[in-house]
Amino acid sequence: MDIRVERPAPDTLKVTFLGNLDIENVTKIWRLCVDAVDRESPRLLHLDFSKVDYCDGSGLALIKVLQQKQAKNHKSCTIFGLKPTFQKLLEYIEQRPDKVETSALLQEGLPEKLGHITVDILRDLKENVVFLGILSYQLFLSLLNPTKIRWSDFFRIAEDTGPQALPIIALIGFLIGLISTFQAAPSFADFGAQIYMVNLVGLGLVREMGPLLTSVLLAGRTASAFAAEIGTMKINQEIDALQTMGLNPVRFLVVPRILVAMLVTPILEVFFVIFGLLGCLVVMITLGYTTDVFFHQLYQSIEPIDYIGGLIKVFAFGLVIAGVGCLHGIKTRFGAKAIGQSTTQAVVSSLIMLVVVDGIFALIYYVLGV
């Protein structure tokens, strides 16, 4: 494929296309043509297609772009020898003017932008508070009357959330225990205090790492799943269907998930801690300590209150993860990208909320001296 560029008269540019205008050829000549017209900006652009047998969408696009360039500079452009079929296609495209979105062209000033953002934030806040209110009310009603809970859903969701998450929880727990003990070993060896690594890792796992990391894993796994499930139901109008049946979507979809999370998160946390301690034990044994010594040291270092404190915390984390996940599912808006947005938002917000709640607990436990 080639083109011939001539200047038959001053201020006139003639471009002759020698070959078919299909995607491959147009790719090769596009820059050439466009640059030539840009550079010379001729008063008359003459396009000769008499050697062209075939022209597809890319060819038509090239013609249109060249025409538009000329029109924009108030110069003219003539077309010669284009086969009638393609001529018709070109006219057909021209009959349908590009739609100009006037609203998109409106430029927002800073005050308007600020106003919109503030309104959005406030509306979001209101939605969250309303959701929290409805949720608390429905949770309360359900606990008063447990027969009204959808137990079949509860067990299905519990299976997805609990046993299915166990392998990853066990693996990460084990690795965290193993690695943190292993990393601490040289420093503790300097002081001949390697046995105290059990205190460090044990306490760390029970009080902080166990609850937080279990919850972080569940934020990635469960919060996103809840948001996606409920979001899909929203897009699929299933939530509308519930509403017109007079059934409350929160009671129906959110309450079982919250209950599952409150039940399952503490159990998973126990597994996390057990596997973490196992990891620690493995390192201690390779360093020459016996299991007896390990358990004795563990028993000495951890008070029941440490353990209970961790469990209470993880219980609250479970509530946060499930609540935030479901909230973003319910808030899923209209359109194709909506579910992706709400799952992402669910993970991000639940992680932020986890850190905030963890901070609050740290403060409370500090004040209480736990």
Partner: protein, 246 residues
Amino acid sequence: MNRIPIIEVKNLVARYGERVILSDINFNIYPGDIFMVIGGSGCGKTTLLNHMIGLLSPFAGDVLIDGQSISRIPENQRLTILKKIGVLYQSGALFGSLDLLQNVALPLEELTDLPKDAILEIARNKLKMVGLEKFFEYLPAEISGGMQKRAAIARAMALDPKILFLDEPTSGLDPISSSEIDQLVVNLAGILGITFVIVSHDVASICKIGGRVILLDNGKIVAEGRPEELRHSKHALAKRFLQVNR
């Protein structure tokens, strides 16, 4: 005409944000009517339906069912109205985790105090009415689109509503399945006297079912009448709408 309308739409205006979708819509539907809403894709048919069933609140105007405003009804009377209506959503909206029988049984379980075996019998009968007696234990994902639509109609009929709203019941179906659904509508209207509000742009089914048609365009009702009247009317869009495919 001194019949009492079962649905009244009065000066309804609907907006999404700044975009006006419906402006000043007025019509009445009487008991036993088959009322059809037609119009191009995206012209606001589903939006109109969602206002009529109370899922969306009007920006202005009102929708009355049995003389009661559906958007401003007190919470404790809401259920009484909702029990009078059944809805087939455009996407079917069957619950994916429940099989067909459970789907149809769900509204009965939640909103009535019938014993379990009565509920199951009713649900089975409804599925039989739409010809799905062999598929009680199938999940929605395991059956075809036409079957899903029919199952969703069965669910919409679970509580024996007085009014059935069907949003594009035959779109995306083969001609045989869609004529079966048309027949079902005609039968239900004839035998049970159910009032139908049907959104459709399936010309064959509109003409087969008959009834009264309104044509929406640009947020307004631009033509109104029986299908054959519209086809021979002077209104260009209505004519074009009802003459494709024939």
